[in-house]
């Protein structure tokens, strides 16, 4: 068997080293041996590309909205991931807080990513106009105060120290959101100022996810 015959036969064999005829050629030909070794390296590395990327959190929000629209989600969520605290309101928080975090991030995305926004419109999905986004942002700010209190209550059931730490960091992040929004308004053409709004919302989302143990893949 020569190199041309070997390489013609190669696609048929998942493991050419195990075929006697191919094996004989492999032992005598360093080029073909190198080729097989390289292809083996590629095949060995390929599975690492599976399940290696996290999707944008926005996908779940859009999917959830679609499931509700189609009536596939028919009832409020039950307590699954967080043990109910004594007051009995944990069931609502376990569902609402991560959603609040995701909504915060979505608002950040809408404010910061006009290109994504246009893309959604062009694909016929639910889209929010600029004034609506502004209204949502203001509403979110008010709602955010209540959500923060809810989050701190949940965290406080674990330890008072942790509650204090989350409170301080939420304060930091909320200040970041305010400052970033001011900077973005004052400098509408400044790409970095616009991006900082998104960064600030991402931090808030991270705090919520971290508190609810939902951030890890």
């Amino acid at each position: 068997m020569n190199c041309a015959e070997f390489q013609k036969a190669l696609p048929e064999f998942a493991e050419p080293q195990r075929d006697t005829a191919l094996q004989a050629h492999l032992r005598s030909c360093s080029d073909c041996s190198l080729l097989v070794s390289d292809l083996d390296s590629i095949v060995a590395a390929a599975p690492s590309l599976a399940a290696s990327e996290d999707p944008n959190p926005q996908i779940w929000l859009q999917l959830e909205a679609a499931l509700k629209n189609e009536g596939l989600i028919r009832q409020p969520a039950a307590p699954l991931l967080v043990p109910p605290p004594q007051e009995g309101r944990g069931w609502r928080l376990s569902w609402a807080l991560p959603v609040a975090a995701a909504v915060a991030l979505t608002i950040g995305l809408l404010v910061y990513r006009p290109s994504t926004h246009q893309n959604l419109q062009s694909t016929g999905k639910t889209a929010v106009t600029e004034p609506a986004a502004a209204v949502q942002t203001a509403a979110a700010t008010n709602a955010g105060i209540n959500e923060d209190q809810d989050l701190l209550e949940v965290v406080g059931t674990q330890s008072p120290t942790m509650r204090a730490e989350y409170a301080a960091n939420l304060k930091d992040v909320n200040a970041y959101i305010r400052d970033a929004e001011d900077a973005a308004k004052a400098n509408p053409d400044d790409e970095q100022a616009q991006e900082s709004v998104m960064n600030a919302y991402e931090q808030r989302s991270m705090l919520y996810e971290m508190a609810m143990d939902r951030s890890l893949p």
């Binding site: 696609p11 590309l49 999707p55 989600i73 039950a78």
Partner: protein
């Protein structure tokens, strides 16, 4: 050992989530989404090499699955069912866009061209392990048909007979095109390493 963290730790198992999703429980849907989102999104991203398209297709795949969840009887694993559906959604998308789901036959290039020996070729071999990021870049740069075959077989683990059925080609074609895809990747990886060495 179980497939998911035990419900004792406060989380639903996949089987529990499926049953509750059938009753319209929103959080059960979310649990199922979270269990499988990385696998489905990565598949879509690898097949399209485009983030926006991968996001749309991930959403579409889950939506199709959840619409049919009432019919799931557990004859096959849920993940297998979802995975198949995701592949079909992506292939449908590629066909709609007029992109080849199997490689267009090379008219100017033969196997011999691709694997011909060059002076110094031995020095430029991959010499051992291939890193994930460099492979990822090389896969993104593959022509769409080759990318599909490589991702379905080597990344996602489908057999040639399954691929042939899904993409509508012969088993022999699937084998030969996969081989060509690997050769193209080898060339791209070698080229990348040579460029990197020059920097």
């Amino acid at each position: 050992m179980t497939g998911a963290i035990k419900s004792q730790s406060g989380r639903l198992t996949e089987a529990e989530a499926i049953e509750r999703a059938k009753q319209g429980d929103g959080e059960a849907f979310e649990v199922l989404y979270n269990l499988h989102k990385r696998r489905v999104y990565s598949l879509c991203l690898r097949m399209t090499a485009n983030t926006a398209q991968a996001e749309d297709l991930t959403q579409e795949a889950f939506l199709q699955l959840f619409r049919k969840i009432g019919t799931f009887r557990g004859e096959s694993a849920f993940s297998t069912w979802l995975h198949r559906m995701a592949v079909n959604v992506v292939l449908m998308h590629l066909r709609k866009k007029g992109l080849p789901v199997v490689p267009l036959e090379d008219t100017m290039e033969t196997d011999e061209d691709t694997t011909k020996k060059e002076p110094g070729a031995q020095d430029a071999s991959l010499a051992g392990a291939v890193d994930r990021l460099e492979l990822q870049r090389a896969v993104e740069a593959l022509p769409p048909g080759y990318r599909s075959i490589f991702v379905l077989h080597d990344v996602e683990g489908f057999e040639h007979n399954e691929i042939a059925e899904m993409v509508g080609c012969s088993i022999g074609n699937s084998k030969s095109q996969l081989h060509k895809a690997r050769l193209k990747l080898r060339d791209a990886l070698k080229k990348h390493r040579a460029e990197k060495a020059k920097r």
